[in-house]
């Protein structure tokens, strides 16, 4: 992505299609104008596809699932990728968001204005999920690693059990008859919102704190990072977007029950995160898209699909243990100041190296 100037000149005679494609890709990846262009195209498409039925309804639903999965994956990436913890409870936050939003929209908001209140319901689901994340965030001050993994797992089971035991919200049968309010423009809006917020969060001061906790918690505390505040924020942001995704999911599936949000759902999200690569927004997008699309493409295989999928995952992990993107990030998702900083730092290093050499 960065070093090829010299190389391409050397190889210019021998370079084939692969090199050409690579150069084109680098030009695109380095061109910051591409991001607004892509956003505009996505914006137009998100209205155009459902309006003019550009693709069949089945593919439309898959595209919406991809959006929801991108939100889930990126939000889990904050905790599992950037903070270096291992959370298995993401489906629990998703369940909270799904239940809160669908109950609000079914029983609280006026039925006639439900289209206007839908985004409010989704945000409310996210906010409640963020508040609930305190249950996990407070133990995380003291415990780390595998014990925190257990706490998140316990959280998931508790959420599921509570939902199953309140008969007013359907108990184990869940809620049926949710309106289909999730449309492609909304999915697009919330996906972009989550990517934007998470990217800015990671490149803010708090985000640096999150990264420092991953590298070394004790050392970062010595550098006067307020680890408690940072952890609290990271869990809150992560579960907020899990709640948002859950709300979108509920209004797309039109049916939720505690059984939908079990460990297997969490495992799915985990797989998408590690498939794409931890600590990389581009990786999360890639992982979520590839996983969702592959599951659909392999559908003709029937039962063997679910046998093949984990096998593919194992092989990917064996040959690329850090996921598809690894820790790399697409330049579009790095703020311009950070790029400048990296450039300056490189130049300084070159000068220093030259000085020390002479």
């Amino acid at each position: 992505m960065k070093i090829t100037k010299v190389k391409t000149e050397e190889k210019s005679n021998a370079r084939g299609v692969a090199w050409y494609l690579r150069d084109r890709w680098e030009a695109i990846a380095n061109n910051r104008l591409m991001l607004p262009i892509l956003l505009m195209v996505g914006f137009v498409l998100s209205f155009g596809i459902p309006q003019f039925n550009l693709v069949n309804p089945y593919v439309q639903i898959i595209i919406m699932y991809i959006g929801i999965n991108i939100i889930l994956t990126t939000s889990l990436n904050i905790v599992n990728g950037y903070m270096g913890e291992f959370s298995i409870g993401h489906a629990g936050f998703m369940a909270v968001g799904a239940y809160v939003s669908s109950l609000l929209i079914l029983y609280v908001f006026p039925r006639s204005l439900v289209f206007l209140f839908f985004p409010l319901g989704v945000i409310a689901g996210g906010v409640v999920a963020a508040l609930v994340s305190l249950i996990v965030a407070i133990p995380s001050f003291k415990t780390r690693g595998d014990y925190l993994a257990i706490i998140t797992l316990a959280f998931l089971f508790i959420v599921k059990s509570v939902l199953e035991n309140i008969s007013a919200i359907g108990g184990p049968r869940g809620i049926v008859g949710i309106d289909k309010l999730t449309t492609m423009p909304w999915v697009f809006f919330f996906t972009v919102l989550s990517l934007w917020v998470i990217r800015n969060f990671i490149h803010s001061n708090y985000g640096r704190g999150v990264l420092s906790i991953r590298e070394d918690e004790v050392a970062s505390r010595l550098m006067s990072v307020n680890t408690r505040q940072v952890k609290f924020l990271a869990f809150a942001v992560s579960s907020f977007f899990a709640g948002v995704a859950g709300a979108l999911f509920a209004h797309l599936l039109q049916f939720i029950s505690p059984r939908v949000f079990d460990v297997l759902k969490s495992t799915d999200i985990l797989i998408m995160v590690y498939l794409g690569g931890i600590g990389s927004i581009a990786g999360s997008i890639l992982g979520a898209t590839i996983y969702t699309v592959l599951l659909e493409v392999l559908r003709p295989l029937g039962m063997f699909r679910m046998v093949l999928m984990p096998l593919l995952l194992v092989f990917l992990m064996l040959y690329r243990p850090r996921g598809i993107m690894g820790l790399r990030e697409l330049r579009w998702f790095v703020p311009i100041q950070d790029l400048k900083f990296v450039k300056r730092w490189r130049r300084k290093k070159v000068v220093n190296d030259a000085n020390s050499a002479s």
Binding site: P139, K142, D146, F157, I158, Y274
Partner: protein, 290 residues
């Protein structure tokens, strides 16, 4: 009387949990890997016993031995093929690989047996009545056999050369090979022991609750993982203790409260225990170095 009857149930369920939790804790202790496929190996053990008992019509002891051997071989080969190449990789990619292996086993069995299967009962159904308390032969066998296996395991880990090597590897993995210990071999033995115990648990579980489906691995496996953590992961005696504690809580909740509260009470209690003893009951806090 009722309490004592429930205590026997606790011992029965607890020994199944403890046997599985031992595998989790041994593997974790030696290579710091949460082997999420372990619960599914337990399930494979149950299914192998089902296959052997149904198609080959063998009695209990050969079934148990075949299941143990097969699952131990499976466990060792999983370690060889899936975990060993990742030993230098970031820890979490190994964990995700383990999740993948677990899902693979589940869905593979699901392809062959999509519906719950009923396991033939291999043991005589004798029930003794001791002054109002009824104990079945199966319960005695489950409790006795698991206690016996745990004792053997404890002896192996504490008093043999292999056990000494295991403990050494869990303390410091870089020094041990310098002492002429083959780390790979010891890790293979650990996997064989741990997964063999899971197979025993699987066989006995399928005898006690004779309807099995490919998802019992998730259900019981995660519970057993929790036992291992409550006891202090990496600690063998802790895993046994954790198994019995979790079983006691679950059975007592079901005995005195509506059974749907089971998970809620169990996991809330788990949160409370972990907030007071963040490293489990018998676990020691690891020193953090900067």
């Amino acid at each position: 009387m009722y309490i004592i009857q429930q205590l026997i149930n606790v011992l029965q369920l607890g020994s199944v949990y403890a046997l599985i939790a031992l595998g989790y804790t041994m593997v974790y202790g030696i290579i710091r890997l949460i082997n999420f496929a372990h619960g599914d190996l337990f399930m494979v053990g149950a299914f192998i016993s089902f296959i052997v008992a149904t198609y080959l019509k063998l009695p209990f002891i050969p079934t148990l031995l075949i299941s143990m051997t097969a699952v131990a071989m499976l466990g060792v080969s999983i370690e060889r093929l899936a975990y060993r190449p990742l030993r230098q990789a970031p820890r979490m990619s190994a964990v995700i690989t383990a999740l993948g292996v677990g899902l693979f086993l589940e869905n593979l069995i699901l392809v062959f047996y999509p519906y719950p299967q009923s396991v033939p009962i291999l043991l005589p159904t004798i029930v003794w009545n001791l002054g109002g308390i009824s104990i079945s032969f199966l319960q005695v066998l489950i409790i006795g056999l698991s206690l016996f296996l745990m004792l053997i395991l404890d002896l192996i880990v504490r008093h043999t050369m292999v056990g000494m090597a295991m403990r050494a590897i869990s303390l410091n993995k870089t020094i041990v090979p310098l002492m002429g210990v083959s780390v790979d071999k010891i890790i293979s033995i650990t996997f064989a022991l741990g997964t063999g115990l899971a197979a025993v648990a699987g066989v006995m579980y399928s005898q006690a609750f004779p309807v099995i489906d490919p998802y019992i691995g998730i259900l019981i496996g995660w519970q057993a993982f929790i036992c291992a953590v409550v006891g202090g992961i990496g600690n063998i005696r802790g895993a046994m203790l954790g198994g019995f504690i979790l079983a006691a809580v679950q059975i007592m909740v079901v005995a005195f409260l509506p059974s749907t509260y089971r998970d809620f009470v169990t996991f809330t209690l788990l949160l409370v225990i972990l907030s007071f003893r963040p490293y489990g009951i018998l676990g020691k806090p690891s020193m953090e170095k900067v």
